[in-house]
Amino acid sequence: MDYVLFVTGGPDSALGMLQSVMQEGDTFSAVAIGGEKLDEILDTCISAGASETYRLMDKAFIGSDTWALARTYAAFAGKYHPGAEALIFARYSSAMPMLAHLIRAQQFCYVADMERDDLGMIVTQDYGDDRRRCRVPSGSVISLKEGVDIPFQDKGASTSDVRILGLEDLELAEMSVGSFGSRVFEREVC
């Protein structure tokens, strides 16, 4: 099985969570959107066993609101990992439920625990006033609850270059991303 980790903050707990459910033969890829300073975080993912790392970067992405960002993520997921078992966000972002809608997947927010049985993955969602366990269909989008602390095992660095993907690689039109593709705009600082 293949997993995708969207790095939207410190990935440590997400890496730990992923390692706890991955089985022999499973792989995971890590993807971040932004500049070179994210390469250090992607290196951490490589040391935890990421088979591939991507960084989405293009001038055209500048000015994206969550809608345009979600479309960028959806284009990446659809082209590079269409059959991923789960797409995991290290930290909740408004783009996560939007991505789930765009790829017609279920979403699971505030995940405090992940496990696997013979039928597939099960997550525990923690809403604060209620916890529930749900079965996760293949292709679902998951984000972790803030404050979950699961250390990951460093499997030793392996050489894996970060693939930089831009607008053309994702086969996106310029009008779909950045300020052209956004719906919300910053008007003034008060």
């Binding site: 609101d65 969550t66 809608w67 979600a70 909740y92 408004s94 783009a95 996560m96 439920p97 939007m98 789930a100 809608h101 765009l102 279920q106 979403q107 927010c109 505030y110 099960i122 809403y127 604060g128 006033d129 529930r132 366990r133 749900c134 079965r135 269909p137 956004s182 719906r183 919300v184 705009f185 910053e186 008007r187 003034e188 600082v189 008060c190």
Partner: protein, 235 residues
């Protein structure tokens, strides 16, 4: 034909085809519409109007209770005076007990997505239903409380409608149908606008005051049937 010759209606005017003269005189007798007519009937203008508020209900110990932030948003919607206030609530028949309270806080028309399975939060089903109700009522604004469930629902609902969202707003202001959404980040207060309708915003509890209930105030409730399959398999 009395002035209909050369009319821009291209013979589609019933007065012309019946052989009668154009009684209103609006044909003008020239190959163009009266001045300003296209501007007046701007068919590209959105008809979005009013505010839809997600009424979140919690069930604790068998007692159902409206989340305070939903009531605070109803108060803000009333204060902004942006047209009709719509509410959407999910759950089984037991939600009828809350109608009086919901109407007392300013809802004019309530859409009750009536399904016992939806007493439990299923974000996919909730988002589909919000989008479907918005397609019916065409609100200019959708307000959702930034509770854990609201924060999970709002972006998916916005995406379902192809519109944008501003989360955790610190203030809202309405001018006509245009909503200004304010957010404080790193000590900076910024004003945002969404260029599409509906404009979706989430607000945390406590940002707006608790409004006074208008006892005896009534409203209209519609049952809405959810026909989709956006249910989670909860173990």
């Amino acid at each position: 034909m009395g002035g209909c010759d050369g009319c821009a209606s291209s013979g589609s005017c019933p007065s012309y085809s019946s052989g009668d003269s154009c009684s209103s005189g609006s044909c003008g007798g020239e190959k163009k519409l009266p001045p300003g007519m296209l501007e007046h009937y701007n068919t590209n203008q959105s008809t979005a109007d009013g505010t839809l508020v997600f009424i979140e209900v919690s069930d604790k110990g068998g007692v159902q209770k409206i989340e305070p932030v939903s009531i605070q948003l109803l108060g803000k919607a009333s204060e902004m005076q942006g047209g009709r206030i719509f509410g959407i609530v999910f759950g089984g028949p037991e939600r009828k007990e809350l109608y009086k309270e919901i109407f007392s806080f300013g809802v004019d028309t309530l859409y009750h997505v009536r399904d016992p399975r939806l007493s439990v939060f299923h974000p996919e089903a909730y988002a589909e239903s919000v989008a479907a109700v918005c397609e019916r009522v065409i609100p200019a604004t959708v307000l959702i409380g930034s509770t854990p469930r609201g924060a999970e629902l709002a972006p998916r609902a916005a995406a379902s409608m192809g519109t944008g969202i501003v989360t955790e707003c610190s203030d809202l202001a309405l001018e006509g149908r245009k909503l200004s959404m304010f957010r404080v980040s790193e000590g900076r207060k910024t004003r945002y606008e969404c260029i599409t309708f509906p404009q979706v915003a989430t607000v945390k509890e406590g940002v707006f005051p608790f409004p006074a209930a208008q006892e005896g105030r009534g409203g209209t409730a519609f049952y809405w049937q959810y026909k989709g399959d956006g249910f989670k398999q909860i173990l």
